[in-house]
Symmetry: C2
DNA sequence: GTCTATACGATGATAGAC
DNA sequence: GTCTATCATCGTATAGAC
């Protein structure tokens, strides 16, 4: 079979990702997805079972990749800059912002995360915690090693604040918008640098 | 008329807020809303014109109140603690966390906010920016007065990070969970104190 | 002014033929 | 695996009762 061809399943995932990013979940109909992917409407239910599950699979494809990048960068930071907080934060922040800024579905990705907030009790949240909780715990350990005076509870508060700030930055929801004259890559780099500086100061802040 | 009765309009708003929090905008049908509110399906279009406008009005009911509290506390902070960053941040953070912890619908409201991210509702975004942007700008001015060395762009980045961390804290999404033995009010106070300290250090951080 | 009954086109999902 | 056909349900609109 020709390697230039994608499977029906992959074509659906790709089309869904692009459309979700553009118009959101509710704003994207499966008929739009299957039309863009050039497959029959019923194929999405055959391969994914439901629209809900299709959304989860779009998300997983990106999240797995991001987690690998984060852990690889974290290991490098520990090796090359032991005891330094900045490189650890960079390992956490940069793969996420790179993904959010990726034109191919990054927008969809961040919206799935936001949905996980909202569905406070739901299976998506459990899924995230089970699949990717070890990544967060690894970063908690690394940060604790850089800021040993911090007690554990306070460290977790500050990790939560970092995650929240990062999510917000990824979502482009706030005051800051990318100016027309600035390239996407440069904008992401700026966001990462600003966030790392902000969070480093916050995390190092005195206990009392 | 009896004051113990809510109007049709209010019953629709209340039912919508609860259901939006539970199942999202897309996941909540107007028929579910009107069924819970015990009104006819057509009443929502009569009173609100569309589902989209109903969503906006659900936001307005909570946001107007929170914005008033924020601005009142901000004015007091400027009067009683001129030049101090902490009280300004407290004026921004505390009304939001109080709303998130309020048993009367506020808890539902924060989940509604997360839904807004998740579903990338552009018109809701525009609505929020138009209606409440002046509050954020007022805080930007106040913070700039406390940290004059910060240039404007950097200030806006940091305000976005603060907003993100605050939203995350409001949602109870992260690693930190309220322990069973801690009262809701005490947990909110702890969250506010931790966030104010974290953000103050981040905002004051040196430019380079 | 408020509200209801009802209808319309589009959607997500499913069953069964191929 | 993929299709066509079909179904319940969705948001919205309208006509008219009180």
């Amino acid at each position: 079979m020709a390697s230039t061809q994608f499977s029906t399943k992959d074509r659906i995932l790709g089309a869904a990702e692009e459309l979700f990013a553009l118009h959101g979940f509710g704003g994207t109909s499966l008929r739009q997805v299957t039309s863009r992917a050039d497959v029959n409407i019923a194929a999405v239910n055959y391969h994914f079972g439901s629209k809900e599950n299709l959304i989860n699979e779009v998300f997983r494809r990106r999240m797995d990749d991001m987690s690998r990048q984060r852990l690889a960068l974290l290991e490098r930071a520990r090796r090359e800059h032991p005891g330094e907080l900045g490189p650890v934060l960079a390992a956490f922040v940069e793969p996420a912002l790179a993904l959010a800024g990726d034109r191919h579905g990054g927008g969809a990705f961040i919206r799935v995360i936001a949905r996980a907030y909202a569905e406070n009790n739901d299976s998506l949240r459990r899924f995230l915690s089970e699949q990717y909780g070890h990544v967060l715990r690894e970063f908690a350990r690394a940060i604790a090693g850089c800021v040993p005076h911090l007690d554990k509870e306070q460290l977790y508060w500050r990790l939560d604040f970092l995650s929240g700030a990062l999510t917000y930055a990824m979502s482009d929801f706030g005051l800051i918008k990318r100016p027309a004259g600035v390239a996407e890559v440069a904008h992401r780099k700026r966001a990462a640098d600003e966030l790392i500086r902000f969070a480093a100061a916050g995390i190092k802040s005195d206990k009392t």
